[in-house]
Symmetry: C2
């Protein structure tokens, strides 16, 4: 960075010529209840959900700018904690906060625009082909389960579950390896829920998919609380895991890289011709699903 915060613009200089640019907002009452997150945690999360978009393209976060829309009663020390959370999460991911804007509003919201360097091979949502295997990192449904518990207030939420909601772990390392080595044909981060985000890959790639719910990776906490009810894992959202498609010929390469990814990766389905997304249950029966899913947290 040549010129930092406090000017009309930050000035950025680098050798890399290919950039990623993304924007995302967290709004109080829509994406979180203020009592669910400390200001510092909220700052961290605001950055991390953006970093997850960079991870989904295989890139490396570098620079971000932040807009704070803040109610008049919001305390200055909370605003400082918010900022510190963003800066800390940015630093951990290799990115600098280079500018910001502060405005009044009735509703607290944090909007971050994040600029990252792109991998040598660009991966989009558009490259999936019939026959490709569908993989997902980590476990699904934990953040949605934490939100449901926080919302009902009737179930004590374990620290691990809370963390899955409060502190997404963008899969930057996995994303970079999967993209740069040319292992994946399409990739997206799971923010709206598995079914909806796999639907995005299908729509953009003009293909269909078969999903095997029994193969969807679940945490022990999820199994304990939800048993065989997979709704939150399939449609909950806010997982911030990577969902990708791998051509048959690349599966061996994926197996060789598996230990380097920094997270588990699990095969959960197959890309098909046609344009439908189907669920194959444990008995091999096909159940048609609404590919739009539903916006779990936002309605």
């Amino acid at each position: 960075m040549v010129v930092g915060p406090g000017q009309d613009c930050a000035v950025l200089q680098t050798d890399a010529a290919l950039w990623l640019l993304t924007i995302d907002a967290l709004v109080a009452g829509v994406h979180f209840a203020p009592e669910w997150l400390s200001p510092r945690q909220l700052g961290r999360k605001s950055f991390l959900v953006n970093a997850s978009d960079i991870a989904a393209m295989g890139g490396q976060p570098r620079f971000c700018v932040v807009n704070f829309s803040v109610p008049p009663a919001y305390r200055e020390r909370d605003l400082r904690a918010l900022q510190q959370g963003i800066v800390a999460a940015g630093r951990e991911c290799g990115a600098a906060v280079v500018g910001g804007n502060l405005t009044r509003a009735t509703q607290l919201s944090i909007t971050i625009a994040l600029l990252g360097t792109a991998p040598r091979r660009i991966v989009t949502r558009q490259g999936a082909r019939p026959g490709d295997h569908v993989f997902v990192t980590g476990t699904l449904g934990d953040a949605a389960l934490a939100v449901r518990s926080l919302r009902r207030g009737d179930t004590p939420v374990t620290a691990n579950l809370q963390r899955r909601f409060r502190e997404p772990a963008p899969r930057l390392r996995a994303g970079r390896i999967l993209a740069e080595m040319g292992i994946v044909s399409a990739m997206i981060d799971v923010s709206d829920g598995l079914v909806q985000d796999l639907g995005h890959i299908c729509t953009e790639s003009r293909v269909g998919a078969v999903l095997r719910p029994a193969a969807v990776p679940l945490s022990p906490a999820y199994r304990k609380r939800c048993g065989s009810d997979l709704r939150l894992a399939l449609q909950g959202g806010e997982d911030y895991e990577l969902l990708c498609t791998v051509p048959e010929g690349n599966v061996k390469m994926l197996q060789r890289q598996r230990a380097r990814l920094g997270c588990p990766i699990t095969c959960i389905g197959t890309i098909t011709g046609g344009r439908r997304l189907r669920l194959l249950d444990a008995e091999g029966r096909t159940l048609q699903l609404d590919t739009h899913g539903f916006d779990h947290f936002r309605t």
Copy 2:
């Protein structure tokens, strides 16, 4: 642009290695009343206030990402008009909208992050030196006058005045010439009001200034309505003109470039030692001012 909207990130490629990055938000009830601007005008303005920050650094807008925070009742055709306004204003300024995000909120707000290429010589708010002349482009106070009239609802506002509020004209051409030719020692855009923004230059450059109110450029509409009352011109805000400091040795170069700037430019004061911002009235008397000014639209 290599990859456009609809992915997790936009992918950008260019030869230039030096970038400017800025973010700004317009919030309903804070920066505007919905009845003051059509959705398309609001979209245009959202882009143009960001472009003004790029102009203040002498840069060229290139790529932007947009966050829309939208109440549930907001009509889809208004959202489309908003988007079209941003795209149109971007295109006129040489920039492409490469991504976006849509979220619910109680209050309409538009946040834009704009990436621009930097000029060969970077200009900041920090280079002003005692003896430098203070210049400002265009005329001041018109947007504040338009807002006051719209707010009171008691004075018919002329189309020209309305335009100064609705459609800021970022001084991109003037900014580029002033920066690239090394004419100015410091520059900022006047968004918070002349006194406050000159205060920013003084603080960042660790200097003071003498301002001559009688020299502040006013439009015929402003003179007609406000006579000798200069409060809106000095402290009104939302002018989106360029305020810059020019070393004595560069004044002749400025005069030679004047016709190319695309707007008038007027000398309104001088940078001094010390750290105070003083007003010199028509009779040569000094009046001390609160350099913080006041946040006219926002309180």
